[in-house]
């Protein structure tokens, strides 16, 4: 999409979109809302790239011997699919797009604490993305997104260094975004907005930012050591040179497991907002839901070893990591129950964002419960490294995080663009995505249990039926993802003008015009009530 289409045609009141024109006003903007749109365009771009890799993979796997490409190419496809989707789509998606747009609006501030830093983090992200795209064009990389050593450091002769630099650089974008959010939420809340009056989206952003700030630097140093070893052939992780190949996995998962929560916690925040709004109820057990976000963030740092149950690590280490992994399940389960209970005696309407949120709960429940199979030592031994893992994390990251992201985009689209989209189409897309998703990934659970290892470019013929089913489902899913792209772009020009608060939602972001003016609020708001005051009398707070 070009920036031109984002500008409303007519003489709308001054807002952040029509405040200034021309590419400079976008590329040098310090307005968090414009930066959010820069991110929106760029993560959509990377989503389409990552998605096209997925399409090729699914076509390839319709035949046991591989229908499309050589095994080497297939290996590059799944590697780039993983790298692009995780580091350039999922991690920045909700925080950098919706978080950037909403955190200052929700805390009632004119901008984030450090607007220049915010713009810088977008540029860092783009530079990292360029390195990754360069690596794809210059021959690709075939290590898997996990970069396991010593394969990645010593044996692979693909573009490992370029991708490593790309991921390393992008990490700093994530760190700076997290830093900005933490400071903004701590120091820039509007008068009266106490911690326990904050919308749960802010709690989720806060927990996510903690992970970004604490985890990402460890990934950065790990990738740095990997690149050193790859470039100079020195022994850090390569046993032939005296290194320890498992050390890489420890360091890598110390970040990359919490990174899963970077993807899912924001989605949980989005879903809390949507459910509260469309059932006109305060989230059931607000403080429990808020604390469970932080609990998940903290526990998330202690469970990395469950990725390594079959590496030959000590059985006692396995025991502890298994126990801790089970503990993460509890706050997640509580959240699901609380969302469900919020609906009780509510006044529920079924606009598109609500459908996405319900889809999120369903898919996240399945993804979370199948996580129990993998936290459990005896079953993980069988399922580790198979398609069961692939299905499980897609349920969490695609079923969960992407559903949450799309739900959030639909929920705040009137605020972001000042326009409404056709709700019927949005509802249809939500249903198609839900069905397509299950058709694609449910068969993979069975495939994994039957023993099909992941990352196989060709496979024994007995697995073909389920693979074809999965590929067929992917077609439905792909169509589902394209529909919103079409009507959302359409709505920017032709959609009906949105009022400031089309859903009748609470929250400071709805108390300012759609789209908001550059300074967000004409006057800094004062908060006098709890979050989600949807109840009978509007002002039941103090």
């Amino acid at each position: 999409m070009s920036t031109a289409t984002l500008e409303p045609r007519v003489q709308a009141p001054r807002n952040y979109l029509n405040a200034d024109y021309g590419w400079k006003s976008w590329l040098f903007t310090q307005d968090h809302k414009r930066i959010a749109l820069l991110y929106l365009v760029s993560v959509t771009f990377f989503f389409l790239i990552g998605g096209s890799f997925a399409v090729m993979m699914r076509i390839h796997l319709t035949e046991p011997q591989g229908a499309l490409v050589q095994p080497e190419t297939y290996n590059k496809l799944f590697t780039l699919h993983g790298v692009v989707m995780i580091f350039f789509f999922l991690i920045p998606s909700i925080p950098a797009v919706l978080g950037n747009f909403l955190v200052p609006l929700m805390v009632g501030a004119r901008d984030l604490a450090f607007p220049k830093l915010n713009l810088l983090s977008w540029y860092i992200y783009i530079v990292g993305g360029m390195f990754t795209l360069y690596s794809a064009i210059a021959g690709g990389v075939d290590t898997g997104w996990t970069f396991y050593t010593p394969y990645s450091s010593t044996y692979s002769n693909t573009q490992v260094t370029a991708v490593a630099i790309g991921v390393f650089i992008t990490g700093f974008s994530s760190i700076l975004t997290g830093l900005n959010f933490i400071v903004t939420i701590h120091k820039m809340r509007a008068p009266g907005l106490t911690w326990f009056r904050m919308p749960l989206f802010l709690w989720a952003m806060y927990a996510t930012s903690l992970i970004m700030v604490l985890g990402t630097p460890v990934l950065a140093i790990t990738i740095f050591l990997l690149a050193l070893e790859h470039l100079f052939h020195v022994g850090i992780f390569s046993p032939a040179l005296g290194g320890d190949p498992l050390l890489f996995q420890h360091l890598f998962w110390f970040y990359s497991h919490p990174a899963v929560y970077i993807m899912i916690l924001p989605a949980m925040g989005v879903v809390s907002e949507i459910i509260a709004c469309f059932s006109r109820k305060r989230i059931f057990g607000y403080s429990i839901v808020a604390f469970s976000s932080v609990a998940i963030a903290v526990l998330g740092f202690l469970v990395w070893g469950h990725h390594m149950f079959v590496t030959g690590q000590s059985v006692y280490a396995g025991l502890i990591f298994s126990l801790l992994s089970f503990l993460v399940a509890i706050p997640s389960a509580i959240k699901v129950f609380n969302w469900t209970a919020t609906l009780y005696k509510g006044s529920i309407s079924y606009e598109a964002p609500m459908l996405y949120a319900m889809g999120f709960i369903g898919l996240f429940t399945m993804g979370g419960l199948t996580g129990l199979f993998l936290a459990s030592l005896a079953t993980d031994v069988h399922l580790n490294g198979t398609y069961f893992i692939v299905a499980h994390f897609h349920y969490i990251m695609v079923g969960g995080a992407v559903m949450g992201y799309l739900g959030g985009i639909h929920f705040w689209w009137p605020k972001i663009s000042g326009r409404k989209y056709p709700d019927m189409w949005a509802g249809i897309a939500a249903v198609i995505i839900f069905i397509g998703f299950n058709l694609t990934f449910f068969p993979q659970f069975i495939l994994g249990y039957l023993g099909m290892p992941r990352r196989y470019a060709f496979y024994p013929a007995e697995f073909q039926v389920l693979n074809v089913m999965s590929s067929a489902g992917a077609t439905v899913l792909g169509v589902g993802y394209l529909i919103p792209l079409i009507y959302l772009i359409w709505s920017m020009r032709y959609g009906p003008i949105a009022e400031p608060n089309p859903w009748g939602a609470t929250g400071l972001e709805w108390k300012t015009p759609s789209p908001p003016p550059t300074e967000n609020f004409t006057e800094i708001p004062v908060v006098t009530e709890e979050a989600y005051a949807y109840g009978p009398e509007e002002a039941h707070g103090d």
């Binding site: 075939d142 010593p150 046993p239 032939a240 609906l343 529920i348």
Partner: protein
Amino acid sequence: MQSLPFQPVQASSIAKSVDELYLFLTVVTLFFTALIFSVIFYFMIRYRRRSPDERPKPIEGNVPLEVLWTAVPTLIVAVIFVWSSMLYFKNAEAPKGSMEIFITGKQWMWKVEHPEGQREINEVHVPVGRPVKLTMTSEDVIHDFFVPAFRVKKDVLPGRYTSLWFTATKVGTYHLFCAQYCGAFHAGMTGSIIVQEPSEYERWLAGGAAGESMEQAGEKVFQSSGCSTCHTPDGTGLGPSLLGVYGQPVKLVGGETVTADDAYIRESILLPKAKIVLGYTPIMPTFQGQLTEEQLTNVIAYIRALGKSQPKQKEEGKQ
């Protein structure tokens, strides 16, 4: 639905118990998924918005309910954790007296060596009903030895040994997969586990046994690499005698004691200066890069045999 096999063959002694746990987990998953889905559907219909200005009363929470739905998942995961961990611990160690097979992973094939000297590639012949312990290492990158029918899997790492065991319970041919991505032809690093009746297995062993046993091969390496010049049997050489050492505690310079197991012997060959036996000087050169993984396992097999051949030492000592 009959044509879709939803369960892999159970062909090992542990497969059934793993499947029982898997089934329990599946039931838990389906139950809670169904519960959440139906409650959501019910609420969405029962409490659908009837007029645009409805303002439902807020519900802050409900302590007994919240305690309940914290306690129930906690209890369920506790059951799963205990069940699963007990199963895992029970099967963590190979039973005493397991027959041993040595596996070397390499891009992109499995090299298999039986103690009697039979070698095979991408095929592992094993007798039914006997515990088999695999000692595994890799020549290059990390691989993973995965037999779905046995519900066993273990990474195969370069530079160290990992092990895995199973007792096959059903005659037949089963998939062997590499389950850790290892490069271009990762998908081709597959093979078969061929489970035979013991008598048939004996026949197979006898039939292919043209070569020497691992122990004999190891002894040759031991001689030709010059190990035997220092490690003389009577202990008068520059290095300690290796008779009866295997499986026994060894006193080190610095007062520590280690057990002379596969890992220690491997380290002593590749990094001789890492742990020095008390009373000896660190003069042994490293054999890193000079011995292949197979030669190494052969030498270890030889040293292990030396350990058994010494009547003065206690006879057990295998771990």
